[in-house]
Symmetry: C2
Subunit: 207 residues, 2 copies
């Protein structure tokens, strides 16, 4: 199975497990059961056991999975052990929050460049990175080998900012706004959808 491409669903779930395992390790725990993994992921334990058993025997009955071993194995399966450079577009409250958190760095994603349109912000630093004007995006993305663009701009500015990233050659856009982006083939957009998640949460609460 290791050489075949994973399905969308399996890849999404393994990514989620990896994020939870990384947090679990931070709290000092060495093992985790499929039940606890289920509680944190909202994915049912049977599905979790099935996903993980497809890649070999990891768990011990009554003990659970070894956290370190599972982390390194999932990283191997997802081919995501390296360091990957991000460009962050937008230095409002959301952009500052993203640049100041360790959400990405924990997983090998480094914010290598930060852009804004506001001349008053250009030249300042956020999360230790110099804020550049959006017009520098092409040269910087190329120079710093940026492969992911993170949009932390208001909805109305999202398409324009996305176009800047696309023109610079970025293939993965991570969209924090609610705007629906038009992108050419070969570029993928991943959107945070807090409202969608809340609607989903609410359904099971009200039913």
């Amino acid at each position: 199975m290791s050489d075949k491409q994973l399905s969308l669903g399996v890849a999404a779930r393994l990514s989620r497990y990896l994020q939870i395992l990384t947090q679990t390790r931070k709290t000092g725990r060495n093992t985790i059961s499929s039940k606890v993994l289920s509680e944190h992921s909202n994915i049912n334990p049977t599905q979790i056991r099935r996903d993980l058993s497809a890649f070999g025997k990891f768990g011990k009955r009554g003990v659970g999975y070894d956290v370190d071993h599972l982390i390194s194995r999932i990283k191997q399966i997802l081919h995501t052990s390296g360091q990957h450079n991000i460009a962050l577009v937008g230095c409002g409250n959301l952009g500052i929050a993203i640049a100041s958190s360790d959400v990405f760095i924990d997983h090998g994603f480094r914010i290598a460049a930060v852009f804004d349109v506001d001349p008053a912000k250009v030249g300042q630093k956020v999360g230790g990175v110099l804020i550049q004007h959006i017009s520098d995006i092409g040269a910087t993305v190329n120079e710093k080998n940026v492969i992911i663009g993170v949009l932390a701009v208001p909805s109305k500015g999202a398409q324009g900012a996305a176009q800047g990233l696309i023109d610079a050659g970025v293939k993965i856009i991570f969209n924090y706004s609610e705007a629906l982006l038009e992108v050419p083939p070969g570029v993928t957009v991943h959107s945070m959808s807090p409202a969608g998640e809340l609607l989903y949460a609410l359904y099971f609460f009200l039913s």
Copy 2:
């Protein structure tokens, strides 16, 4: 099918369609094809057509789905037509960004109360709502009929803030931090996981 509870997967996908349809309507478009819905959701078109056909005939071949009709039908299916009150905990950059955006209000979620631990912030306003001290959480959640708590606090403060919401009777917690929360049965946690999403995006890029 309308009286049976939806599966986790169907409910999650319908919620996502609803968020995309709401944004589509904002841009003035009246119809949407399963192909376009697929591009914005990263869910394959066959799955979309199957999900929607389970609830009746919506789409017209070559024309697509009527956006308004589909929105009202999905809202009906998800029982989420009403107004629902949110308490936001944390008024740092992230909390301010959330309170200032229309991400939630578009879907009937109203930020009815905002809390922080910092005495310097208490008494100020964010997004038109007065910031209260976290110690007021019990009385306010009860008085304002809050059913959802949104955590916009650093990871290390997340469990304490979650406990405040749980003690106040909140059953749905929406966690913007990376922390893994321990909650009693009957309380559900939904976590934004931008790092998990990026790992997933990267997998398909690198494969």
